[in-house]
């Protein structure tokens, strides 16, 4: 069973190369932008990124340097988060559709693997494989970004080992980012379940068939009941800021300069800002997983019982 899942997820990565190409492409673009920023700063003497100046400023306290470095890494990460959001949704829409479109489904079904195993492997790809691939790209991108800044600081006569590598809260940031990346598909689970179901069910045009009900049902609700509950619930799910894993205001204030000054003696830990147990015990999360389970069951049923030819 577990050996099957490994083989199936591996197959997903072979087939859907976007699972690793997307984060790799984002890493390339982000690195290119980082080089461009440093070159601009070096050429014009002007920092486009105010945080970069702070790093090189020997007069500011280490805690602020740490925070500035963490912010640079998080800004970098936010691009990956957005890309992963799109990647996960489009992967789920594609996952059970292409095997029917290219007619390979009967071949896959000629092997001793149940439909449930196959459908679950597609969800696991979205929930684990995509965040892991994204995390790997984030780590590479962070290191490249720091190396680029080190080279620049070195040419400015500033010691990068002290100001960058000695200050950057690398493992704390990575741990926080990884937890965050793993939480995203769990938060999106009801929508991912819906997309997988449409992917298994739609004869053609899965994108429209997945998106139209999401757009039309809230409008119907408004016409019939003059309320927006469904629409708000969907938007709430699609937005990553609303994940009950952290309080965005609290997080923002953690990096507020005044707040930082008052925290001079303390270390800011990104991990400590995440409320993992709160997330895992949240009713919203479990309700979402339940909805995901229902759609997943429907997807398995369709793949199992529908005659494809």
């Amino acid at each position: 069973m577990i050996a099957h899942q490994f083989a199936l997820i591996k197959r997903e990565i072979w087939e859907h190369r976007s699972v690793w190409i997307t984060p790799a492409a984002v890493a390339s673009v982000v690195t290119f932008v980082a080089i461009a920023v440093v070159v601009m700063v070096a050429a014009f003497g002007e920092a486009f990124h105010p945080e970069i100046e702070k790093i090189a400023d020997a007069t500011i306290p280490d805690v602020m340097r740490r925070a500035a470095l963490a912010i640079i890494l998080l800004v970098n990460t936010s691009v990956f988060v957005m890309a992963m959001w799109f990647l996960t949704i489009f992967y789920c829409l594609d996952a059970l559709y292409t095997e029917r479109k290219d007619k390979s489904i009967l071949f896959w079904r000629s092997l001793p693997i149940t439909d449930a195993e196959t459908v679950v492997s597609k969800l696991l790809t979205a929930v684990f494989a995509i965040p892991v691939a994204t995390m790997a790209a984030v780590i590479v991108s962070h290191l490249l970004n720091l190396i680029i800044m080190s080279v620049w600081l070195g040419t400015e006569g500033v010691n990068p080992f002290r100001f960058i590598w000695g200050a950057v809260p690398l493992f704390d940031t990575w741990a926080a980012v990884f937890v965050f990346l793993l939480a995203i598909p769990i938060w999106l689970a009801p929508l991912l379940g819906w997309f997988l179901f449409i992917s298994a069910w739609a004869k053609r045009g899965p994108f429209l068939r997945a998106v139209l009900p999401i757009a039309i049902l809230p409008i119907l609700e408004y016409i019939l009941f003059k309320s927006w509950n469904l629409g708000l619930a969907i938007i709430n799910r699609l937005a990553i800021e609303t994940m009950p894993i952290y309080d965005i205001n609290e997080l923002a204030s953690g990096f507020d300069e005044d707040h930082l000054h008052s925290l001079l003696e303390q270390d800011i830990s990104l991990v400590s800002l995440l409320d993992v147990s709160g997330f895992l015990t949240s009713v919203e999360v479990w309700a979402g997983l339940l909805v995901c389970g229902l759609f997943l069951t429907a997807a398995i049923y369709v793949r199992r019982y529908r005659d494809e030819s």
Binding site: A3, S104, L106, F107, L111, P112
Partner: protein, 285 residues
């Protein structure tokens, strides 16, 4: 004899159309059963029921299992190639072998490697880069390397040129078939498997027209080429079908006493194709 497939009163309807209509038959171990029928006769539906891809009414048992309910167990011991079960085009040959090795308990990677080394299929090629003939070679190699008790082939050589078709059946007999394994095959090119199969079944309009072993077929069916008054006399004996060939009459008889018609013309055993036409047209008349 152990029966691998037992169907009794199997039916399958799509709306008002009865694609398979109250069909009963058995396939015994070690047989090569050829299944023939015109398009829309119910062949593919019947095969799908055997493979557990569709449910049906009546009793159907394959390797002692209910094919629809116990698909996973069934697929450990059944292989199939259908013209619609295409190999995924994006996959590399090496990836395909790795995947099957890790998911199929009865697959021998060494055997597949050995079989493939005799072909021009490269391990690092993607399926989409292979010709249709090579894809079929690849598929057959994979299936031959699976120690399965029943192989179902639905139009396996459709669209292949004659060299590949000949080679396909030669390999099937030499590498796959060992007297222990059982094959159920459908094809339009009946003459290609005529010397290969041990049993034969005709299906039309969802019903079985003929179910016989190839050995007893010559005893049961005979074709008479005749003309003139002999033809009239022969006609009185009730041929199931009659056709004109170069101004002569060719009549197909079923279960007739050969001595009775021996003097009326030239006797021979009908080819599978001719017999098929005779049975289908004869049943329609």
């Amino acid at each position: 004899m152990t029966s691998l497939v037992t169907a009794s009163n199997v039916s399958k309807s799509f709306g008002d159309i009865r694609a398979v209509d109250n069909v009963s038959f058995q396939i015994e171990k070690g047989k090569i059963m050829g299944l023939f029928g015109p398009n829309g006769a119910g062949k593919t539906t019947l095969l799908k029921a055997v493979l557990g891809l569709t449910d049906c009414e009546g009793q159907l048992s394959v390797l002692g299992l209910d094919p629809f309910k116990q698909r996973k167990e069934l697929m450990q011991n059944i292989c199939f190639i259908a013209d619609v079960a295409v190999l995924p085009r994006w996959i590399k040959v090496s990836q395909l072998l790795e995947f099957i090795e890790s998911t199929h308990p009865n697959f021998s990677r060494a055997r597949a490697d050995e079989l493939l080394s005799r072909t021009k299929v490269r391990k690092d090629a993607k399926v989409r880069e292979l010709s249709k003939g090579m894809v079929t070679q690849l598929h057959l190699s994979i299936i031959t390397a699976i120690d399965a008790r029943l192989l179902v082939l639905d139009e396996p050589t459709l669209g292949l040129d004659i060299i590949f078709r000949k080679e396909f059946y030669a390999n099937l007999l030499n590498d796959y078939f060992d007297g222990e394994r059982t094959i159920l095959i459908t094809t339009h090119q009946a003459e290609e498997i005529e010397n290969l199969m041990t049993d034969i079944m005709f299906i039309n309009d969802g019903r079985i027209l003929l179910d016989s072993s190839m050995e007893t077929l010559p005893d049961e069916y005979v074709e008479l080429t005749t003309s003139g008054e002999d033809a009239d006399r022969a006609r009185q004996l009730g041929p199931i079908y009659e056709r004109d060939v170069f101004g002569k009459k060719v009549m197909t008889f079923e279960g007739v006493d050969k001595e009775k018609i021996a003097g009326l013309g030239e006797l021979h055993t009908p080819s599978v194709t001719d017999l098929f036409v005779a049975k289908v047209k004869g049943a329609a008349a």
